[in-house]
């Protein structure tokens, strides 16, 4: 094909539009308005992109996440985790959880783990779910599992979790645990929990000591221990806000032990320390009885004279006076 040929042919072929093209295009232009539908494609693309983003956002992903606040903290490691308030759902990975406020519920592979005033690790490895209390106890499908050296060892390091807790979280947790145990009638557990708080240098230790002493005196039938606990409280917090209650309880412990010498000594100390106490009458009565038990009848009768109610040995006092 020569030079002249293609140029000539091309010019001829493209010289004029086909017959009727002008009218056809005019009709199309005046009837159809493609421009009006131009928004369709961007709108469709936008909707698709939004859909993809939504799916990506909602798709469960393995994450490392650490959060604290509202009475609990957790560290999730390569976990698929969702959270709604105090309700966590763990699909996979490891969750170390510390609760010092209201209880937190963890749903994991169809099982329900309730954590209250405790630290625990929940792990999903393959099809296996492991719940390992580190501190306190948790309910797994309603069954209580308590921390032990074995579960602590299996749970491994929870240092990152401790770093998230407020400094007084262990105390708050122990107090909450003591309350839970008390309400459940687990007196020993409650006393042990109070011991944890009492071991701290916080002012809350005084309350913990008194509460533990009360448990030992009234629930655990251990007046000897109770008296030692109240004495410890008196030694550590001589001007404590619970001094009067603690002194009365120590007095009760001594009486339960029939240690009349000690009762007499404590009643005298009470009268000196709290001369205006409304419980003074009861304390004096206890002193009179203790002195009588110690066979100091004259002294006992002298105390009894100051009491408004008669004592059991009232007749003996009358003959003694004569």
């Amino acid at each position: 094909m020569s030079d002249v040929d293609w140029r000539r042919d091309y010019r001829q072929a493209t010289e004029a539009p086909p017959v009727g093209a002008r009218a056809r295009v005019w009709r199309a232009m005046t009837v159809a308005k493609p421009a009006s539908r131009r928004w369709l494609m961007p709108a469709f693309a936008g909707a698709m992109a939004a859909g993809v983003l939504l799916v990506l956002a909602l798709w469960p992903r393995a994450v490392n996440e650490a959060r604290a606040g509202d009475g609990f903290a957790y560290v999730a490691t390569t976990a698929t985790l969702s959270r709604e308030g105090r309700h966590l759902a763990l699909g996979a990975g490891r969750l170390a959880l510390s609760v010092w406020g209201a209880p937190v519920q963890v749903d994991v592979r169809g099982r329900r783990v309730e954590v209250e005033a405790a630290r625990a690790v929940v792990e999903v490895a393959g099809d296996r779910v492991r719940v390992l209390p580190v501190d306190g106890s948790v309910l797994v499908d309603g069954e209580r599992v308590t921390a032990s050296p074995a579960t602590r060892a299996e749970a491994g390091d929870v240092g990152a979790l401790c770093a998230l807790e407020p400094t007084d979280a262990p105390l708050t947790r122990a107090e909450a645990r003591a309350t839970v145990a008390f309400e459940a009638g687990a007196w020993s557990d409650a006393a042990a929990a109070w011991s944890e708080v009492a071991a701290s240098s916080s002012l809350r230790a005084e309350v913990a000591l008194v509460k533990r002493g009360e448990l030992e005196l009234r629930r655990l039938s251990a007046p000897e221990k109770a008296r030692a606990t109240f004495d410890e409280a008196a030694a550590r917090f001589p001007a404590g806000s619970l001094a009067m209650e603690r002194s009365l309880s120590a007095l009760e412990a001594a009486a339960a032990l029939a240690d009349w010498q000690d009762v007499a000594r404590r009643t005298q100390a009470f009268e000196t320390a709290f001369p205006t106490s409304e419980r003074l009458g009861e304390v004096r009565r206890a002193r009179a009885l203790a002195l009588y038990a110690l066979r100091s009848v004259a002294e006992a009768c002298e105390v009894a004279r100051t009491l408004s109610q008669p004592v059991p040995f009232q007749a003996e006092c009358a003959s003694h006076e004569r």
């Binding site: 094909m1 293609w6 093209a21 002008r22 421009a35």
Partner: protein, 207 residues
Amino acid sequence: MNARRHSGHSPVDPPVLPALATQVADVPQEASALVGRCRAGDEAAWRALYDGHFDFAWRTARRLGLPEADADDAVQEAFQVAWARLHTFGDGRFSTWLYRIVANVVAARLRKRRVRDVFDGLFGRGPDDAMTVDGRLEARDTLARVERVLRRLSREKREAFALHEIEGLTHEQIAELTGARVETVRTRLFYARKEFAVHAHAMGVEP
């Protein structure tokens, strides 16, 4: 091949674009007056402007390498764009302004066509394989082969080549039409010829 074509054309405007102007009604005063009436919402004026420039627009689209099957749609789109942007038309020649719109529309359509060809290639159907039986027959024609060679050039080179080699415009006229400098047009033309020769040789067209 061109039995369907007619040769009814509008009056002429020879001064700047001799080849194109042989069939374009673009007397500046008349076109400006029509544009003025269009802006005032006169549809009859728009129809007159359309009738006077349809052949020019169609021919421009075809000579820039657009296949005949796409030409009607491209011209329709170009006139719709022109109508929407009529307020931006200044003091120049209406045909020059319309040419740029048509060239833009053609460039966009050829770009989409190239993308489509690439996608067809991805699935094992090259642009040649994708043709219909009629297309295959047509591809044997010089016309189709020239179109395909033109489509392979970049927009700037294609315009320079088509306006010079097919329309017969001078460098200065092409510069005015495309808004480029004369030196730039010369450079584009130089490279366009070289590139056209390579592609044309491969397709059996003698450059």
